[in-house]
Symmetry: C2
C-alpha cells in the first residue's frame, strides 16, 4: 500500500474514533436525564476535552495531506469532506454537553413525567448518527440516503414532545413544572440538532462518493 493510502486510512480511523467518542457522549448525556444519574456528566465532559483536541489533530492531518500530496478528484473530496465531518462531530459533542448542562438543572427536581418520547427521539437520532458514520467508513452512499430519510421522523417526534409539554404547562401554576418543561423542550431541540448534524454528515458522504452535491436539491 502506498504511503499516501496508509495516511488516508489513518485519517479515516481518526474520524471513526472521534465519532465513537461523540456517540458515547450522546449516550451518556441522554442516560443522565433518563436514569437521573448526574455522575454521567463527567463522562461527557472528559470526552469533550478529548474531542476538542482530536478536532485540531484531524484538521492538521487534513491540511498536511493536501499540502504534501496534492490530491485531486476523489482523494481531495475525501479530505475536504473529512474536514467538514470533523467539524460536525465536534459540534455534536457540544450538543451532548448542552444536554448535560440542562440535565444538571432538570435533575434538581423530581421527574415531571415518565420520559418516553425523549428516549425514543434520542434512539432515532442515535441510529442516524451511527449510520452516517458507518456510511462514511464504508463509503456507502445508499446507507447515507437512509439517514436523510429519517430526519423527518426526528422532527415529528420533536413536535409531539413540545405539544405534550405545552399541555403540562397549561395546567399548572407551579414554577418548577414550567422550568422542567422548558428544560425538556431545549433537550428536544438539542436532539433535533444532533439529527441535523447526522444529516450533514450523510450529505457529505454522498458528495464524497458520487462527487455530486445533493445539498439543497429541493430548494434550488
Amino acid at each position: 500500500m502506498r504511503h499516501f493510502d496508509l495516511e488516508m486510512n489513518d485519517l479515516k480511523k481518526k474520524l471513526v474514533d472521534m465519532a465513537t467518542l461523540v456517540q458515547e457522549m450522546i449516550k451518556f448525556s441522554v442516560d443522565e436525564i433518563v436514569k437521573r444519574d448526574l455522575n454521567l456528566s463527567k463522562e461527557v465532559f472528559n470526552r469533550e476535552r478529548e474531542t476538542n483536541l482530536t478536532e485540531i489533530i484531524i484538521d492538521d492531518t487534513c491540511l498536511k495531506l493536501i499540502a504534501l500530496n496534492q490530491p485531486v478528484g476523489t482523494d481531495l473530496r475525501f479530505i475536504t469532506s473529512a474536514m467538514r465531518i470533523n467539524s460536525d462531530l465536534e459540534r455534536m459533542g457540544d450538543e451532548a454537553v448542552n444536554i448535560c448542562e440542562i440535565g444538571e438543572e432538570l435533575l434538581k427536581y423530581p421527574d415531571l413525567k415518565p420520559l418516553i418520547d425523549i428516549p425514543k427521539m434520542a434512539n432515532a437520532v442515535t441510529v442516524m448518527v451511527k449510520d452516517s458514520i458507518e456510511a462514511f467508513n464504508l463509503s456507502d452512499a445508499d446507507l447515507a440516503d437512509t439517514v436523510l430519510s429519517k430526519d423527518d421522523e426526528v422532527d415529528e417526534l420533536k413536535r409531539i414532545i413540545i405539544k405534550d409539554l405545552l399541555e403540562f404547562m397549561t395546567n399548572t401554576s407551579d414554577q418548577t413544572t414550567l422550568i422542567r418543561a422548558i428544560d425538556l423542550m431545549f433537550i428536544a431541540k438539542s436532539l433535533e440538532r444532533l439529527g441535523d448534524h447526522a444529516t450533514n454528515i450523510a450529505e457529505d458522504v454522498i458528495f464524497m462518493v458520487h462527487g455530486k452535491d445533493i445539498r439543497h436539491l429541493k430548494s434550488i
Copy 2:
C-alpha cells in the same frame, strides 16, 4: 496580479457577498418579529435559495482552486477556512429561516410584551456577524478577537430573556401566552446560535491569519 491571486480575490468576494445575503436574512427575520410584518418572510426565503446555491458554488470553487493550483501554507489555510466559513454562513441562513417560521406562529397573536431584549440581543449578534466577516475580508485577527469577547454578552442576554419569559409563564393560565413565550425562547435560542456561528468564523480568521488553532484553548 497572478491568475491564482485573481481567483483567490474572487473567492473572497463570493464569500463576502454571501455574508451580505445572510446578514440581510437575519435583519429581515428579526424585523418580521419586531415590526410584526409577515411580508418580510419572503425576503428571507428568497435569499435562502440564493445562499444554498452560493454555498455549492463556493465549495466547488475551493476544490478547483486546490486541485489546479496545489496551494500550501497561508493560501491553503485561506481556502480551507473559506470552506468552513461558507458552511457556517449557510447554517446562519437556516437560523434566519427558523426565526421566520417561528414568527409565522408568533404573529397569529398580539404582542406578549414590548420586545426590548430580543432586538437588543439581535443587535449584539448582528455586530458579531458583521465584525467576523469584516475580519475575514481584511484578514484582521484583532477584529476577530473582539468577536470572541462578545459571545458572553449574547449568552447573558439570552439568560435574561428566558428568565423574564418564565415570569410571564408563571402568572398565566392562558395557553396562547405560553405559546408566545415558548416561541420567543426559541427565537432567543436561534439568536444565540447565530452568535456561535460568528464565533466559529472569527476563530477561522485567527487560524487563517496566524496559522494557530485557537479553538478550545480553554478546555484542553
